[in-house]
Every structure is written in C-alpha cells, then in structure tokens.
Amino acid sequence: MQNERPLDEIPADFRLPAGIFTTADLTPEDLPDPADVQPDHPGARLLGWAAGRGGRIAVFGLLLLVGSGLVLLEVMFRPAAITHVSEIPGIHAAIGMTAALAVVLLARVGQWLLLRRDANPMPPRTAPSRALPVRPATPAPAAPGTLRPTIAPTAGGGAR
C-alpha cells in the first residue's frame, strides 16, 4: 500500500498538484483502508465494530433470538385466566413494534407537514470566545476509483 498515513495526519489544506495525477492513475489500493483510520482506543474500537455492518447484523440477530425466546416463554407460562390486557402473551412485543412503527411514520409525516427552515439557526448563538477548539472533520473514504475530495474545515460545523 503506497499511502499508509492516517487520514487525520493529512493537512486540511492539502491539494494534489495539478496535472500530476488523474483519476485514472489511482487504483483503489492507493486509497487508505478505512480500517486504518480507526482509533486505537479499545472502547472506540468496540463502538466502531458495533456501529459497523458486522456489529449491526450480530446485534440484530441476538435481539431477534432473545425477543423470540421471551415471547415463547410468555406463551408457555401464560396465566390460566387472563384478567387484564397486559397478561396477553406477546402484547408487549406488539406494543414495542407499534411504537417503532409510529415513530417512523410520524417522522415521515412530520417532515412533510411540520418541518420548516430555521430562521435563527443555533451555531452563531455561541460567542466564539466561549467555544472550545474544534477538531477538523475527517473526510469519509472515497468510493473506489475516484479521487477523494479535499475538504477544508469550516468554522463552527466542520465540513459536510
């Protein structure tokens, strides 16, 4: 691998000299592996794994297994006579699913009906003298075969 420097070490104002490289000159191997830019802190690695695809699939499977088991247990040990709606086997699972569905639906409908542009956005509110130092944003790895754009950090919100 030609470029093993972490992305964090590349100066924010770094520019490729004009005419030296073109997109065709670079191969996916020239770009840094996203795994190289993971922090070394064990906790951060764990969080990173959980936030990644593998972690999500593992957590999803585990939740599905445990949830199904709980409902199965509730069905097996249901009371002889149900006196309240809360005793119906699986009612809590159904409420949980309904709650998630409601949140997603309300998010969609709400963005359509209720969202408006903020006339008084938050960032300028905090006086610059009170703001703590801002770390420049780390650009995301570019798609294979393309040049990664160099993004200069912006005050307040970083680059998008």
Partner: protein, 567 residues
C-alpha cells in the same frame, strides 16, 4: 430557630447569590459543588423527617420545611442533579450561570420541602426567575428573547397559581400543601397553573424554546427541574384526579409528533422531558400509594437520566457551538466516552431494564394496569415506548453514530467527563440496585416485586421496537434527520396570529385615519358655510333681519341648554 428549621433550599439560594456576587472563578466552581453537598448533608442531617420551620406570616401559619417520605426522593434527585451540574460546569462558569443554577436548584428543593402552598409558590417563583436568568445568560439577542417568552408564560402560570393559593388561603389560615378539591375555584386555578408548568399541551413551548437557547452548562442546570417540581405539586394536591390521566396521556403523546423530526439534540431532550412529565402526570392521576411510589421513582430516574442526556448533548454543543444532528458525523470516533455515556442516558430515558428509567416504568405500568381500563394502559405503555425509543435510542444513535461525513469534535473536557460518568453511575445504580430507591419511598410502598416481574415484559417492548426500527433503517424507510425546526403551536402566535394582529391594528389605524379625514373635511365645510352665512347678506343675517324669523333659532338654543342642564 434550629438548623433543622432551615429549608435546605435556602442554603442553595444563599450559595447561588454568593456565586453570582463573586468575581473569582475558582470560588464559583467550588461553590457549585460544595453547596449541593452541603444541601445533601442538611437533607440527611440531624433534623430528620418531620415538620420544621413553622412561622406566622400575615396571619397565616406557614411551614417552611416539611421533610417527609414523599419529598425525599424528589429533593434528593434535585440536589444530586445540582451537584452533577455544578461538577459539569467546573471548567466554564459565568457569574450569572453559576448563581442562577444554584438558585434554581435551591428554589426547586425549597418548593419540594415546603409544607404550605404559600412557601411552595414562593420558592417555585424564585426557581422560575433563576431559570429565566439561565436562559438569558445563554448569550445573544435570541437568548434574551427566549428568556422573555419563558418569563411571559411562567408569569401567566404564576398568576394562576397565586390566585388559586389566595383563594385557598382565604378559606384556611393554614394553607397546607395537600389534597385540594379541583372543582373549587382555587383548586382549578392551581391545577391549570401547575399543568402549564408541567408542560401540558398548549403552553408547553417554553421548555423547547428556552432550553435550546441556554449555554451547555445552563441547559444541564435547567434540565427537567421545573417540570418535576410542577409534577410534585400535582402529586401533592391532585393525586387520584382522573382528569390528570387524560391530560398526562395527551402530554406524553403530543411530543411524538415532533421528536422524530427535531434536528437539535437538546430540543430532542426537551421533548423527552415533556413526554416523561406527561407519563408521571398520568400515573399521579391514578392515585394511591403505589402510584405515588411510581411517580417518585420516575422522577428520580428522570432527573438523573435527563441530566446525563443534556450533559452529553451539551458537550457537543460546547465543542462545536451547536448540537444539530444533521451536521454531526461519526462523533463516536472522537468522543467515545461521551458517546457511550449518551447511550447510557438513552437507555435510562428509554427505561431499558437495569437502568433508572426502567424502575419507574415497571412500577408505573403495574399502577396503570390497576385502572382496569385496557385502553388507558395500552396508550400509556405505547407512549412510554415510543417516546423512549425516539428520544433515548434513535436520536443519540443518529447524533453520535452517524455514518455520514460531518463534524467530529474533540472529546469533552475532564470535568464534564467526570460529571457524566457520575451521572451514568446513578442511572445504572438505580436500575441495578433499586433497593436504595425503595428505601427512600414512603413506608409500605414496595416496588421490588414490580421491578423483578416486569423485566421480561419491558425487555420485549425494547427488543421488538429495536428490531422494527433497525429493519426500517436497513430498507431506508426511516428518514434521515433534515436541518430545520419543527412547527409547533408557538408558530400560531409568533407567526399568523402576530401577522393577524399587525393587519388588524393597521386596518383599525386606517379606518380611524379615514374617519378623521372625513371629520376634518366636514368641519371645514361647516365652518365655511357658517362663515358664508354670517357675512352681510348671508342666510343667518337675512333670517335675523326678517320679522319673527329668529324664534326657531331661539327655540333650538333653549332645547340645547335644557339638555345640557338635564344631563
């Protein structure tokens, strides 16, 4: 007067005034931590439970310090919240924020430990004034405007509360803070005033509006304090009032319309505070010792968990100057400790088993099941699950674990990390070992059975909610957060209503102006006609010169004089 007669809230207020007066930052930082510790010592000091500080004021018997099992969990949580906020702000405090934060906590603790309505309102109003100062201290024109709006709504609520208290005090020289008849005039006014401060829909906007304009430290101080004191007042005065169930459920459901689209993380927290207050209100409406225990458990867990939430969001705000979800990137990479503690806060708010929120929700669910109204129970649990999911899980995940490119601030300073870690400890401790919470509750209220029995049921709610949310996320049906703010009821009076008022004022001005113009023109014409009539050869002159023609004029003049005399 003995030390036990002094309400611990007064100690915090005095420390706050001292902090506001001192120009030395280290002294303010020490006061921010030492004063809550002192209040804790007073709380659990030699005075013990009972009624202290009885005084006579304007012919009324007041009880400025009543320490009982109902007040204990509220007061302990409020003092702990103040301690955590003081620790959080050790590195960055201004005079106004240090002072107002302590005075706010002192007013809240003082109100909770008051034995009569007059003292309760007095301390509550002190807390409101301090809250307005905190909002104003956020800095800038927008914060000042938000502080004015905050004061306007709370002056309205305060007027209702004072009128209600006056009506009650007129009938009873010892206006004890206890059950009040909601059908009486005083009771109705108190109920409405407390409901406004608890965030009942309609005039709830003050919380979201003001919290977003505070500084990071101010936001932590403000947190869920005012709504919690209002809920305490409702629990004392109106426990068992069925109307509270309806208002509470509405208060809990209303934020769901907005929380999923809110871009500002601290505003998301405010919606969570409102939903949590609504749930507590609904449980208080059930009445009975178990419901009281549920409200106390929820209040304790809520104050600590929301403190942690606002701390973690405030850490991002302190680093970047904003905490807009749509602008944040993979924050967990650069703020791993804050991200992990935000997850703890989210789990606590979401009432995931083994956290503080779970203890309260387990007891509350059991209490609501006793209403024998299946629909009420289903709505209650659904509102709790949806609010917890949106505030405690969805928003923190999107803010701290986004996959897009965005701002990635540095980790929070050490004092903030320390305060957040301590708060995280309390969030987990109240869930893992609810025994210490149970020990604070009134004798006879046993929550352990509910806590033990409900783990599987509430775990089911969260597991299946998480699965559905994850599935929606995978197929990209769950929309990403877009920049902007949610339209709320304040848009009615800050938008169209203000425009309508401006239009109607302009219209009235135009009508009055036109009438004046016409009047002036008529006056001028009349004056010209009169001038022409009195000239030599004019109409009036000819009339007077004609024999007998002056009689009609004399009759008219006599009539006018008579009318003037009679009127």
């Amino acid at each position: 007067m003995t030390p036990a007669d002094i309400n611990p809230g007064l100690w915090l207020i005095a420390a706050g005034l001292l902090a506001a007066a001192t120009p030395w930052h280290p002294v303010r930082a020490i006061l921010g931590v030492a004063a809550p510790l002192g209040a804790l010592a007073l709380l659990f000091g030699p005075g013990g439970m009972g009624a202290h500080g009885a005084i006579e004021f304007l012919g009324y018997q007041l009880l400025t310090h009543r320490f009982d099992a109902t007040a204990l969990p509220f007061a302990t949580a409020l003092v702990l919240g103040s301690l955590l906020a003081g620790l959080y702000a050790v590195g960055r405090t201004t005079r106004i924020e240090s002072g107002a934060g302590l005075v706010l906590a002192g007013g809240a603790v003082g109100a909770v430990l008051s034995g009569d309505i007059v003292s309760f309102l007095l301390f509550f109003e002190i807390a409101i004034l301090a809250g307005a100062a905190l909002v104003w201290a956020g800095g800038g024109r927008l914060s000042a405007h938000a502080a004015i709006r905050f004061l306007a709504i709370h002056i309205l609520a305060g007027s209702l509360l004072v009128a209600g208290a006056a009506a009650i005090a007129a009938a009873d020289p010892f206006p004890v803070l206890g059950p009040v008849d909601p059908a009486s005039a005083g009771g109705t006014l108190l109920l409405v005033g407390l409901a406004i401060r608890a965030g009942a829909p309609g005039l709830h906007v003050w919380l979201r509006d003001s919290q977003a304009r505070t500084s990071p430290e101010g936001g932590v101080h403000l947190g869920a304090v005012i709504t919690t004191v209002a809920i305490y007042g409702l629990l004392r005065g109106f426990a068992g009032e069925p109307m509270l169930i309806a208002i509470g459920l509405l208060t809990a459901l209303w934020p769901l319309l907005f929380v999923a689209i809110e871009d500002d993380l601290r505003r998301v927290g405010c919606w969570g505070v409102l939903a949590h207050a609504g749930l507590m209100m609904a449980v208080a409406g059930v009445g009975g010792p178990l419901a009281a225990g549920a409200v106390m458990s929820m209040a304790f867990g809520g104050i600590i968990a929301f403190s942690l939430f606002f701390m973690a969001a405030g850490a991002v705000q302190a680093r970047l100057g904003h905490c807009r979800i749509s602008l944040l990137g993979r924050v967990w990479r650069t703020m791993p400790v804050s991200a992990a503690l935000m997850l703890v806060a989210g789990l606590g708010i979401g009432a995931v088993p083994l956290t503080a929120g779970y203890t309260g929700l387990a007891v509350a669910s059991g209490t609501m099941a006793q209403t024998q109204a299946p629909v009420v129970w289903v709505i209650f649990v659904l509102a709790a699950a949806a609010a917890g999911l949106a505030v405690g899980v969805r928003a923190p995940l999107r803010a701290f674990f986004a996959t897009r490119v965005g701002a990635e601030p540095e980790e929070a300073p050490f004092p903030m990390i320390l305060a957040m870690t301590l708060a995280g400890f309390f969030v987990m401790a109240a869930g893992l070992a609810p025994g210490f919470l149970e020990a604070m509750l009134p004798e006879g209220i046993r929550i352990s059975a509910f806590v033990d029995d409900s783990r599987g049921e509430i775990a089911q709610i969260w597991i299946f909610a998480a699965l559905v949310l994850a599935a929606f996320g995978m197929v990209r049906l769950d929309p990403r957060v877009r920049p902007g703010v949610a339209r709320d009821l304040d848009d009615l009076y800050r938008g169209p209503a203000r425009a309508a008022l401006r239009w109607s004022t302009g219209t009235v001005q135009r009508i009055v102006g036109r009438m004046l113009e016409v009047g002036r023109a008529w006056s001028a014409e009349l004056a010209a006609s009169l001038a022409q009539a009195v000239r030599p050869g004019g109409l009036l002159v000819r009339w007077f010169e004609a024999p007998g023609a002056a009689w009609p004029l004399l009759v008219v003049a006599a009539l006018v004089v008579t009318l003037i005399v009679l009127s």
